[in-house]
Symmetry: C2
Subunit: 221 residues, 2 copies
């Protein structure tokens, strides 16, 4: 049971977020990775809607979550922290050089070639939903996201995971695909939908999600 | 002189791009890193505007540049390739654990917390410039980018580089900031403008930029 109030590893998360964000806040990525390898961690919950404590900016300069501290290094950015954890456990990042760099490649692709195009849709649908132009901007954003997802689906093909064995690249990509759960866009790519479902079916993911959801002070709004 | 037609390392770039993209195509990041450590490389130039060769998708699934091959690993995503090169040379990525993970953190921050907000402005100003709603969407996009740049400026403070010594994080962040060179937004953050200028003043950057520019078949359009 990795959640442990006495753990050396501390990560930050949010104690309350609007319903659309529940289950996709990025500390989920770290919780999932830590569950996969059975490493204990504790969580410091912040209020997503309130100003952050003054000194939080020195830990996470953008005021986001997660931040990470294990007593040895103090980091932010879920992608960087997954690389750090991966280097310590081959169940997250293979030792074989070719496989390892494939996994790093796909982790970065998830962060830079896939996530921004999906977040654009989230922005239009959630944060900018009341802007008069959001509706007009949406078809272009969906078209661009679909073109990226199509490339991803082709690259994945009928493989189980992106880099051979299950790795941090899959933790990143599956949580990125989850951003579109309010749409039917991923369903349009059956191979990706099945891949996402495979990731979400892992016991470590289920435990991580349950623990994240249980942290939200107010269930929904 | 790292450009060498007999080099083991091959990267891909574009043989022609529209003027707005000249000097910011992402193979610049690899050229800069390779110049910093004096490692020879050669370039395969693709046509940005034409369909990519059929087999390019197996190397770079999104049809972008750069892709990388050194005879040992075959990768894509400039961020992943910088991590790979960094691991091989401490002039790009320090061996000290704390410094090293600070550099990885900032490389990922550049890719995921800064670049998407800046690319949103590039999209509106270039790719979507003729859309009737682009003008209405711009103030919000600029506001969001400024909030991220403000956090970055505060975090950098008066330090020379992001993670102590010059690292791959600076190669990434400086090339990310260059996306806004058609605006005066970075100039609004004098510390960031000076940081970008410091990076661009490095001889390795100047050589990399000159080599990239000399590859463009048509000087401007």
């Amino acid at each position: 049971m990795p959640l442990d109030p006495a753990a050396d590893i501390v990560i930050t998360g949010f104690g309350h977020v609007p319903k659309f964000a529940q289950g996709v806040v990025r500390d989920l990525r770290l919780r999932w990775a830590l569950e996969e390898i059975g490493r204990p961690y504790r969580v410091e919950l912040l209020d997503a809607m309130a100003p952050k404590p003054d000194d939080y900016c020195q830990w996470q300069p953008f005021g986001q979550v997660p931040a990470f501290d294990d007593g040895k290094v103090r980091m932010f950015e879920s992608g960087a922290i997954l690389l750090y954890l991966g280097e310590q456990d081959e169940r997250l990042l293979p030792r074989d050089e070719a496989l390892r760099w494939q996994a790093v490649t796909w982790l970065i692709a998830a962060l830079n070639s896939v996530e921004p195009s999906l977040m654009q849709i989230v922005s239009l649908d959630v944060f900018q939903a009341r802007e008069p132009w959001a509706k007009e901007a949406r078809p272009g954003a969906v078209g661009f996201a679909r073109s990226r997802l199509s490339c991803l689906a082709d690259a994945l093909g009928d493989r189980e995971w992106l880099a051979g064995p299950f790795t941090i690249a899959d933790i990143m990509m599956v949580t990125v695909l989850r951003h579109l759960r309010h749409t039917d866009i991923i369903a349009g790519f059956p191979g990706l939908a099945a891949y996402q479902a495979r990731g979400e079916a892992r016991p470590a993911f289920q435990q991580a999600l349950a623990d994240q959801m249980s942290g939200f002070a107010v269930p929904a709004d």
